[in-house]
Symmetry: C2
Subunit: 407 residues, 2 copies
């Protein structure tokens, strides 16, 4: 008998029929002798419907009230799933985040979980009930409803799995696992049976949007075994754990990419201490997130500084940087919003030399010019012109033999 936490996203509970299909799946798992907690998102489209209503009230809706509003989405689905389970003769009970209770801080719309009261959950599980919990929401110390921000249902599931020391946390989505890269770009992309948390974090943050990154961090931190599976197809999905369970790990696990990047460069900046802060401070103040950062010291006591931002923030970042350029007496600002980032990810990099050079050689052979490079322990990212994205991904997929099952 295993204790499992299942999480179903908005598409998986997007209609009455799909909620019933989820009930069937849950019932089957319980009949096989497992204890189950099921975490649900709102029905797909519901959160957007509620946000649209809010915007009709106030152009910048109050965050506390926003949380009162959108937390209703999950409350609806948990009640419906409990009913569907009852209809199958399966004992089940639904809880909101406040009822569990999932205690968070008071950062409305982006709260962080502080503590989960597992007593009530355990009592229901021991009584043979399936416990259905509203994802994405919690309650602060004053009793205000909070939400964890978009995609936060994954985080709820992982946090509950951690609190209950569950055997596995299953994240059901519309994909059947984590792939070596996006199959729409490289049809030879292969589902991975297993990936480590670190690799998953790099894959997720780099644009393979299978799991919400915070939930993976959380799972890693509390050593919760995560499994990504399809709600609609049978299969074992991809297991994400802390250790690499394979005897001989592959050199790299996957190729991630991000089309939403834009690059900005300021050249001829007087090279003084604190210059990075002077350049990036105003960008951060404008709430623009910076991704890659590269600084080159030129030989004339000035420096060139390049960074990437989300493409939607490109024009704002450009305007801010022009001002900074004038303030600092730098030479000029250039930018490019037709670039993409391509990254190879793998824990195998740690123990194998020559991976970077294989990557650069592969791209060179295809005539792809590299505009920026950034590396970490288990990933190498390059920025290239967006027209080369598919070519780069496919060439690297072949070069690292990702279409072949590793030992």
């Amino acid at each position: 008998m295993a204790l499992l936490v299942y999480k179903f996203g908005g598409t998986s509970v997007g209609s009455a029929e799909r909620i019933k299909a989820v009930a069937d799946k849950v019932k089957k798992a319980q009949d096989s002798g497992n204890q189950l907690v099921v975490v649900l998102s709102a029905m797909s489209g519901e959160t957007n419907r509620l946000i649209a209503l809010a915007k009709q009230m106030q152009s910048q809706p109050t965050e506390r009230e926003m949380d009162v509003l959108i937390s209703t989405g999950e409350q609806v689905t948990v009640a419906l799933l409990a009913m569907a389970l009852h209809d199958l003769g399966c004992e089940a009970i639904s809880y909101t985040g406040a009822q569990v209770k999932i205690l968070t801080d008071s950062s409305f719309t982006k709260a962080r979980i502080r503590k989960i009261d597992d007593a009530k959950l355990r009592k229901d599980l021991d009584a043979g009930k399936v416990v259905v919990v509203a994802g994405f929401q919690g309650v602060d110390e004053l009793g205000n409803i909070t939400t964890l921000g978009r995609g936060g249902s994954d985080t709820t599931a992982v946090a509950i799995a951690a609190a209950l020391k569950a055997d596995e946390c299953h994240i059901y989505t519309d994909v059947d696992g984590v792939y070596t890269t996006d199959p729409r770009v490289e049809p030879k992309a292969r589902r991975l049976d297993h990936i480590t948390f670190e690799e998953m974090l790099e894959m997720a943050s780099l644009g393979s949007k299978v799991l919400q990154i915070r939930s993976v961090e959380f799972a890693g931190k509390y050593n919760v075994a995560l499994r990504v599976l399809s709600s609609f197809k049978e299969g074992n999905g991809t297991l994400i754990t802390y250790e690499d369970t394979q005897m001989e790990s592959a050199l790299i696990s996957g190729i991630a990419f991000n089309r939403d990047e834009a690059k900005l460069t300021i050249t001829g900046v007087p090279d003084l201490p604190g210059i990075a802060y002077k350049i990036l401070g105003p960008i951060a103040e404008a709430n623009i997130e910076v991704d890659m950062i590269v600084q080159n010291i030129a030989d004339d006591a000035t420096t060139d500084f390049t960074f990437t931002v989300d493409r939607k923030d490109y024009q704002r970042a450009l305007a801010i940087l022009e001002q900074t350029c004038a303030d600092l007496g730098a030479r000029k600002v250039t930018g490019d919003n037709t670039i993409v980032k391509v990254s190879i990810v793998g824990v195998g990099m740690r123990s194998h030399a020559g991976i970077a050079s294989t990557m650069f050689k592969t791209l060179a052979e295809e005539g792809i010019n590299i505009r920026m490079i950034a590396t970490s322990e288990i990933k190498i990212s390059v920025v290239v012109d967006e027209k080369y994205l598919e070519l780069a991904v496919r060439a690297l997929h072949a070069a690292f033999e990702l279409d072949k099952i590793s030992a």
Copy 2:
């Protein structure tokens, strides 16, 4: 400065525009120096949408889960109104029933309020905030979400007004007050400036569906001054209080009627002790509500027994009564589902004789045959053929001079 509780029903908050109109009204009342608690229903149609979803899950949805589900309707509107108020620069905060907290028993879908914690409300009011509370819902001692049953938002408003000792509780609806009778039947019907709780109770229970009956009972019990007004039209509406404030009260205040009645008669029942229970017991067990009951003792040691039920329960009641007839050895069962009930209501009846005879004379003059009569202290009800409904109402309205303003 007055402390007022405002309640807006589903039609009044049925769209973004209407919620904004409610915000305007509330802001204006606050600007005039009043303290305000606003209780809201779900947007019109929302509760039915949720119930339809539930029925797709389970033909008889679990009541606990039903409450988790439909309580989301009011949670949405309170958040939206708080946002709309913020947009007008008005400090406001929303609460669910559980947050207030409105403690109820655990009778899901028809819970009764036990206690309201007024401390939080007072604190917010004293801080100059408009407090927006989800109607229709509460929480039981175990933290389960409960609902008060359909129309329960009125009850929430009255209960909060009682807990806070509010000066008045305003129920905003789509009618501009309580009328002497239904204006669709008698165009000369007149809005009453004032009516007593007792009269209102008789009017409501007899089919003038302005206010939910439980909320009127509640208001009477705790002596909360209720005012029924239109959300859409200006005006003072109808004030409902315990005392009759008029120096000389009208003989009768209004004429109520109910088209949804059906009549059943069992004749030749052996007249033994407990016979009423033997006849009505099986009806009650089938969850059929009985309205009027008349029993005549015939001279042959048998009795005739007549009662009315809601027309939708007529066929079921008839089948049950046939069985009872066979069991008791009674003569036969007859029924009629083309009858209506017409009632005159007024506290003036207590001190004035001859009202019943005026009623019967008026109906006789119009050639309307009376099938059943039932009386209470402040009301007289008759059952007549449904084809006479309009005629009976108009004749009685004229006979009691309800179109004229009384002293």
